[in-house]
């Protein structure tokens, strides 16, 4: 179908964008890549009276790295972040997860901040934000002034398509911490067809100690609850040599943590089973990734 009529706003600065958002309030919606929003409009599942298009805000088209974090502004497309070599070196989980986001053509237009603001329970980047405990940077107009607030990634998601972002707020950027030394990450998922929404997906980060034993390990799952489900395996695995990890115990902890629902794609039982399988797979891949990175660092 065709999208319903709306009043179009094309601010060129963040200040202008938050002014419009303040003015239109609950009747407004931010348009970035539109790869989730425009299907909702075309299906007439959403009919906002105002769209605030942030594609023309040049200042938001920015990826910045410092000693601690990768900062991704609201205009950055999935494909650009996926291909960014310095980002891959600093925070490999981003590329590892991004390759599972829809199809390459969709990633050319979709944005990273949009995926996070959309808070889809099947959105890969929601799990990345929670797993890395990144930060969401919000901008709004308060008493005529540009005001900013930060929300920790672990507190951002509130429910299905619901996040801690007001109708008058813009997700201006998201920051992801760099992966520390001797750490590795992975993202794995199962979908009915390549590029479809995941039936279940899992991200993992693993920190090894100087002897190559596990110092810390975390997982985060998508599509098995209204918000990403984080599981800390550190208590279970600390001090263990990776080869001696009892993967069945990891799977058991994952299955116990998730709260999947049933739909036409998969039963809750099957999703719970997958959470266990993918937990073990993601953990093993993250250990391999940590070793690869360590070995590459040792090379002259």
């Amino acid at each position: 179908m065709k999208p319903p009529p709306f009043t179009y706003h094309a601010p060129t600065t963040v200040e202008e964008a938050v002014d419009v958002l303040a003015e239109v309030g609950e009747d407004g919606k931010v348009l970035a890549g539109g790869q989730s929003l425009i299907p909702l409009l075309n299906f007439r599942l959403a009919a906002p009276e105002h769209l605030v298009d942030v594609n023309g805000i040049g200042a938001l088209d920015r990826i910045a790295l410092d000693d601690d974090v990768v900062r991704v502004s609201a205009g950055v497309r999935h494909a650009r972040l996926e291909r960014h070599q310095a980002v891959y070196a600093a925070c490999p989980l981003l590329r590892q997860a991004l390759v599972h986001v829809a199809h390459p053509v969709v990633r050319n237009r979709g944005t990273v901040c949009g995926s996070i603001a959309h808070a889809d329970p099947a959105g890969e980047l929601t799990a990345v934000l929670v797993l890395l405990d990144g930060t969401v940077h919000l901008a709004a107009q308060r008493a005529g002034q540009l005001a900013r607030r930060d929300v920790p990634g672990s507190d951002f998601f509130r429910g299905v398509f619901e996040a801690d972002v007001g109708a008058d707020e813009l997700v201006e950027a998201v920051t992801f911490p760099r992966l520390p030394a001797r750490a590795g990450s992975a993202f794995v998922e199962v979908a009915r067809r390549h590029g479809d929404y995941a039936v279940c997906g899992a991200g993992a980060t693993v920190q090894l100690d100087e002897r190559g034993r596990i110092a810390a390990a975390r997982l985060a799952f998508i599509s098995v609850g209204p918000v990403p489900v984080a599981v800390d395996l550190t208590e279970l695995l600390a001090g263990a040599a990776p080869a001696r990890v009892r993967l069945e115990a990891v799977a058991e902890q994952a299955r116990a943590a998730v709260r999947p629902g049933s739909d036409l794609h998969a039963s809750a039982e099957y999703r719970r089973h997958l959470a266990g399988v993918l937990a073990a797979r993601a953990l093993q891949e993250a250990v391999a990734d940590a070793r690869d990175r360590r070995d590459r660092r040792r090379e002259p």
Partner: protein, 166 residues
Amino acid sequence: MTADDLHEFTLVVNGRPRELRVPARRLLSDALRHDLGLTGTHVGCEHGVCGCCTVLLDGEPVRSCLAFAVSVAGHEVTTVEGLAGPDGTLHPVQQAFAECHGLQCGFCTPGFVMAVCGLLADQPEPTEEQALEGISGNLCRCTGYQNILRAVHRAAELLAEQGDRP
């Protein structure tokens, strides 16, 4: 400003600046087809699943049904009509689809051709896996995909022979 307002702007389509006067809700796919008469861009599902409406936006393949025309004002759009030479000589990607029987009814073909142009601009010599990934977002309901995959590799060869970029 209201929802009924018409927006006036320019799109550079197949190298030519084109003036548009359309409501904000006009999808890029409909602007190309209805307002500019470029019906080579096909519309299948209108929610980003089938890939038939794929065009190049500033050289990168995107779904034209998932972009508002006004939102890409001033940008460059390439449609399937922009590929063949002025004398009708097929573009190497089109040539490859013809040679490899990569099309049957042709409905999905413009979308595939544009997606493959984008893929080969990025990866001039794609592996089988890269070729598969590159066309994974497009649906074909008659030929199956094997001939289309062959066409991707054939197009890469033709482009390499010509020393050309898609």
